[in-house]
């Protein structure tokens, strides 16, 4: 990968360098960060290192805008979590808040400057039906088509995405962190057992630090599209830097990964955080993680090449001639990891041939993707 392609990562790794960027470099950085949903993160780094005065005037509005959007997102997530935890309190069972929403709830630095596409919650599987009923009464409803709906409920680790009818916020309600059909089998009971209560909400928990990292790693390195790849890697980096101040965290991270059957994604997380974002990972931890999670020789080399192309910002200047192939291979891999072949093949065939026909039919009924005129007519920005 050339230098421009990884500019965003190299500056996130060494934010002090932001002090003396020239304008053309800012031009590149803002565009990459915007596409990667990391502009708010850049603002936070600038603020943390007190570099705002060094940012050229024309660049500043972009950082300020991103900060405002991120603060708005954080406020909304807090508001929705308050509602959701209230609704689910009737279950009288722990609700584990996952990913971005958990960073907000636990007040972690990973929440700073972040934007959110949805909220992720997890309840024990036996409470899932009841939880869905409670949510439905409060206008959180599933809107997947009938094939997807069945697919989620039968094979996945979560309900089909729920959406609030009025506010349009998206909610993923999990009972596990990987599909029931996945090759790796992290045990949800163990996640619940180690989860940490959150002050102020009697039923709210977040994953323990090690599990939080493992879940983030699993989510990223089992992903099929890598649309948020850069942002998710930055999440991991921020979590590792924060939890890593405590030696006890590192001492149990690798063994926890093994217990949870997640040594492979943990290895990738540590490797690519270290390689792309200079995350300080103790040598011994890296060696242990590699021993348990590193794929065999040529595969390790191939995976390096693939992830190097999938993780940088989703921007035309971060793409080389192998990027499309790399992303396609990772797409296949994610499905291979998600379910055994006898389920996978019919599913991919359905997605390739039946879904587009259905989608087209749906589209004829109602335009799904917003058109520019529609947005202006409705007067709402996406």
């Amino acid at each position: 990968m050339d230098k421009q392609a990884t500019l965003l990562f190299s500056l996130l790794a060494r934010p002090q360098k932001l002090a003396d960027l020239d304008m053309p470099t800012w031009d590149v950085l803002i565009r990459q960060a915007r596409n990667a949903d990391l502009l708010g993160r850049v603002y936070e780094l600038v603020a943390e290192h007190q570099l705002f005065d060094a940012v050229p005037l024309p660049v500043r509005p972009h950082l300020l805008s991103a900060r405002r959007v991120a603060r708005r997102h954080t406020a909304m997530v807090g508001f929705e979590l308050g509602n959701l935890l209230g609704i689910l309190a009737k279950l009288d069972t722990p609700v584990v808040v996952l990913k971005g929403a958990a960073y907000v709830l636990a007040g972690l630095p990973a929440a700073a400057g972040r934007v959110f596409s949805d909220i992720d919650l997890m309840v024990a599987k036996e409470h899932l039906d009841e939880a869905e009923k409670l949510l439905k009464i409060q206008a959180w409803v599933a809107s997947a088509d009938s094939y997807d709906d069945k697919y989620y409920r039968k094979w996945m680790h979560e309900l089909p995405p729920l959406q609030h009818l009025k506010r349009h916020t998206l909610l993923d309600l999990h009972h596990a962190i990987l599909p029931q059909t996945a090759r790796l089998k992290p045990d949800s009971d163990k996640l619940f057992a180690a989860a940490v209560p959150v002050d102020g909400y009697p039923n709210a928990f977040v994953l323990c630090p090690q599990d939080m990292v493992l879940h983030s790693a699993t989510h990223l390195f089992h992903d099929d599209e890598f649309k948020h790849g850069a942002r998710d890697l930055v999440d991991l980096d921020t979590l590792l830097r924060y939890f890593g101040k405590d030696d006890a965290f590192w001492q149990s991270l690798v063994s926890r990964g093994e217990t949870m059957d997640l040594s492979r994604p943990l290895y990738y997380a540590l490797r690519f955080c270290q390689r792309l974002l200079d995350t300080p990972v103790p040598e011994l931890v890296m060696a242990q993680a590699a021993r348990l999670g590193r794929p065999v020789g040529p595969l390790a080399w191939l995976m390096d090449k693939l992830f190097e192309r999938a993780l940088p910002a989703d921007h035309p200047m971060c793409v080389d001639s192998f990027t499309p192939l790399a992303k396609w291979l990772l797409y296949l891999r994610s499905h291979y990891l998600r379910m055994p072949f006898h389920l996978l093949i019919p599913h991919l065939l359905h997605k390739a041939f039946i879904s587009p026909i259905n989608a087209r039919r749906m589209e004829k009924k109602a335009e799904n993707r917003p058109t520019i005129e529609g947005l202006i007519a409705e007067n709402k920005a996406p």
Partner: protein
């Protein structure tokens, strides 16, 4: 230097290469395109915009034909910003309109350094007349009419309300979007104005743009102080009527017409409150530009001599008809 200092051929090769970089109000746009003759449209509609010397652009946008069969069969245009395509492609003949709408999207979704309201703003003697209105209300026609009679154009679509200078509106002088019958109305009313390429059968019907007058572009860095808030409505055959309107209701309407009121939270509320404090609010119905324009001129000139009718948001005040 301005855009039109380049010949059409020079512009075309710039747009096909590293991009044409020009100032539009407070923004720097870097435009690239592989379309055959996009330079002609840009030169016509943005000719008096200053070329930018800055190596940082706010928006890097492209217009291209999508790959595949549609290159030959009913060809289309795609708008992209840094590889992202926020919208479905449109027919090739709507390329210029798509550029306009794409730029609207860039500003309204990414520029939260302003409170952005869906409204036209024109200025006379330093005072801004703000006209928020749903599509089809005749806002753009009235805006074009006023501009053709010497009012300065700040914006036809996106009112940028300052968060730093209370009550000030920042200029974004870009082409005015005219729809259907309005195109002929303005052609007849102001034959000297430049009207750009006509796009038929868009989602809004037939669309053409009237270029911002050079004088409005030249004064593009001057703000204007909000003073009149008018909700226009074109009613065929109606005589001009200007009726005072409640400030509280006007505030809510303006918030409703804002793209980022919810993003800005209290900042947005304060900015909007200052606008409402500054402004007298009216409902306007009209059908005849020759009749309504002098009425508005009288109204704004009179308001320049007096403080806002009633600074409180809760009272409509007892305005006299202009």
């Amino acid at each position: 230097m301005i855009v039109a200092d380049y010949s059409e051929e020079a512009l075309q090769s710039l747009i096909a290469g590293s991009g044409l970089r020009f100032d539009v109000g407070p923004f720097v746009v870097n435009l690239q395109s592989s379309l055959d003759n996009f330079a002609a449209d840009i030169r016509l509609m943005y000719g008096t915009c200053p070329l930018s010397t800055q190596s940082f652009a706010d928006f890097h946008v492209r217009l291209d034909q999508p790959f595949g069969l549609r290159r030959w069969f009913r060809p289309q245009t795609n708008f992209t910003q840094d590889g992202r395509t926020p919208f479905k492609p449109l027919p090739l003949e709507q390329s210029f309109a798509m550029f306009e709408w794409g730029l609207n999207w860039c500003v309204s979704s990414q520029c939260h350094q302003y409170l952005i309201v869906h409204a036209a703003v024109v200025e006379r003697a330093g005072l801004a007349l703000i006209m928020p209105a749903p599509p089809g209300s005749g806002k753009s026609t009235l805006c074009a009419g006023l501009v053709a009679r010497g009012w300065r154009l700040l914006t036809d679509e996106l009112a940028l309300v300052s968060l730093e200078q209370p009550g000030e509106v920042i200029a974004l002088p870009r082409p005015i979007s005219l729809k259907n019958e309005s195109i002929d109305v303005i052609r007849e009313f102001a034959p000297q104005q430049v009207i750009g390429p006509i796009a038929h059968d868009t989602a809004k019907g037939t669309v053409a743009h009237m270029a911002a007058p050079p004088e409005s572009i030249r004064r593009g860095t001057e703000t204007a102080t909000s003073r009149l808030l008018i909700f226009p409505k074109y009613i065929p055959g109606a005589s001009t009527s200007i009726v005072p309107r409640q400030k509280a209701a006007s505030f809510m309407e303006l918030a409703e017409q804002s793209f980022n009121f919810n993003v800005l939270g209290e900042l947005g509320f304060q900015a909007l409150k200052q606008v409402l404090d500054n402004c007298d609010c009216y409902d306007l119905s009209y059908s005849d530009l020759d009749d309504v324009i002098p009425a508005l001129e009288q109204l704004i000139d009179a308001s320049g001599a007096s403080p806002a009718l009633d600074a409180s948001l809760t009272n409509s005040g007892g305005a006299t008809d202009g």
